[in-house]
């Protein structure tokens, strides 16, 4: 979808990072909203994969369909000039357990 008419830029990079859900309630509405808020601060396309499911990291509804509970592994793919910063930001959010333990 988003790659329609999308030109490969020399600065564009695709970075992939495996992360784990560390808060007890999993990726429910509030963490999903925080995740999306963080992801939307970056220009990069952000995709989140769990098993066979692949959704946009900028969509709350998408993240909630992953049904990612405590301990679930996610693959986060960032593509764009600020890919690395985006992944670091999301990683630190997950590491902080979305401030809910």
């Amino acid at each position: 979808m988003s790659n329609v008419g999308h030109k490969q830029d020399a600065n564009d990079r695709i970075l992939v990072r495996e992360v784990k859900i560390q808060n007890k309630l999993g990726l429910h509405a509030r963490p999903a909203a925080l995740f999306v808020k963080a992801a939307n601060r970056f220009a990069s396309d952000i995709t989140v994969e769990k098993g066979n499911s692949k959704v946009s990291g900028k969509s709350i509804m998408g993240l909630m369909t992953l049904e990612a509970g405590f301990g679930a592994s996610l693959k986060i793919i960032a593509e764009g000039t600020d890919a690395e910063a985006a992944l670091n930001e999301i990683q630190s959010l997950l590491d902080s357990k979305f401030l809910e333990g």
Partner: protein
């Protein structure tokens, strides 16, 4: 596209309530794959004839099979059933609440094969299970996009985050159209090679609207405002005016988008601030309906124009 695999567990998840299935024995076989969507009645296999035995299918023991098994001697019955279990079948379903033979339970545990029971009559079980299996094994994918039904036309709205897919869908719901799915849509190919869209999992019937958060659509707009699945007729790409690939002001360029190998008519609508996209989407759906009925306004006008122009040519001569 997801590779289409279905296990007995996947089947049960969908079919357990609908077909009133009970797992009687062999729970360790829940992970076993079902590779074909048809349901088999292993009548000939029970007589010992195994050529062409459809062992990749769900096996059903109905009235006739149960009666036949009852007519066999104990040892023989065990041996025939064992022959079936040995062929690595996905699972066995006993219909009509028939008494479960002790041999079946014993063999189900031994061969780690699920043994299920349903009160349904065999014909109804087979019809229901075939549809469920057909859907489970159909090629499918999950796509970022919001799906609505506009007067019978299934429309998938796609576009970059923040372009206004959900807001447009909300405006359409307010006009009396239905929501199929917000932001994430599951798509599959059905037996007549149409694409069917449906919502994904827990977020069904919910929408996320910037500034509002999450809303439950049927609570706000009534049960008629949602649909559980809908054939996809049109893909609308909402995009910024500058990113549009080949804007066609004459309306004659027929774009197609391939989804799971099926070509779906597609249009691109430039979204500018203040433009009421819902109206345009609504008319696009109506126009699509008209095209399906054989009327293409853009083409017809052009034909008229050409015929007028050619008359003028003659007048000049």
């Amino acid at each position: 596209m997801n590779k289409t695999l279905a296990t007995v567990e996947d089947f049960l998840k969908v079919a357990q309530v609908r077909l009133e299935l009970d797992l009687v024995a062999g729970a360790s076989g829940l992970g076993r794959r079902i590779e074909e969507s048809a349901i088999n009645r292993p009548g000939l296999a029970l007589t010992g004839f195994f050529q062409y035995f459809a062992h990749r299918r769900i096996q059903t023991l109905g009235h006739a099979e149960t009666a036949y098994l009852a007519s066999l001697k104990d040892g023989e019955r065990h041996e025939r059933l064992k022959q079936i279990f040995m062929r690595h079948i996905p699972c066995i379903v006993v219909t009509r609440r028939h008494r479960i033979l002790p041999e079946l339970i014993e063999l189900a545990e031994e061969y780690k094969t699920c043994l299920l029971r349903t009160p349904a009559i065999t014909k109804n079980f087979i019809n229901g299970a075939t549809i469920i299996m057909g859907n489970l094994l159909a090629p499918h994918m999950v796509m970022q996009g919001t799906m609505v039904e506009i007067l019978g036309v299934g429309v998938l709205l796609i576009g970059k985050p923040g372009v206004g897919k959900s807001e447009t869908a909300l405006a359409l719901i307010k006009k009396g159209h239905c929501l199929v799915s917000d932001d994430v849509t599951s798509l599959r190919v059905d037996s007549s090679n149409d694409i069917i869209g449906s919502p994904v999992g827990v977020i069904r019937y919910h929408m996320e609207i910037r500034g509002l958060g999450i809303i439950h659509v049927p609570s706000l707009f009534g049960v008629a405002s949602v649909r559980n699945e809908k054939q996809l007729d049109l893909v609308i790409n909402l995009c910024s005016p500058e990113s549009i690939a080949a804007e066609d002001r004459s309306g004659q360029l027929a774009l197609k988008r391939s989804i799971l190998g099926v070509d779906i008519p597609s249009i691109e609508i430039p979204v500018a601030p203040g433009r009421v996209v819902a109206n345009i989407v609504e008319v696009a759906a109506l126009d699509q309906m008209l095209k399906r009925l054989g009327h293409d306004a853009a083409k017809e006008l052009d034909e008229k124009l050409i015929s007028v122009l050619s008359k003028d040519d003659k007048a000049d001569e």
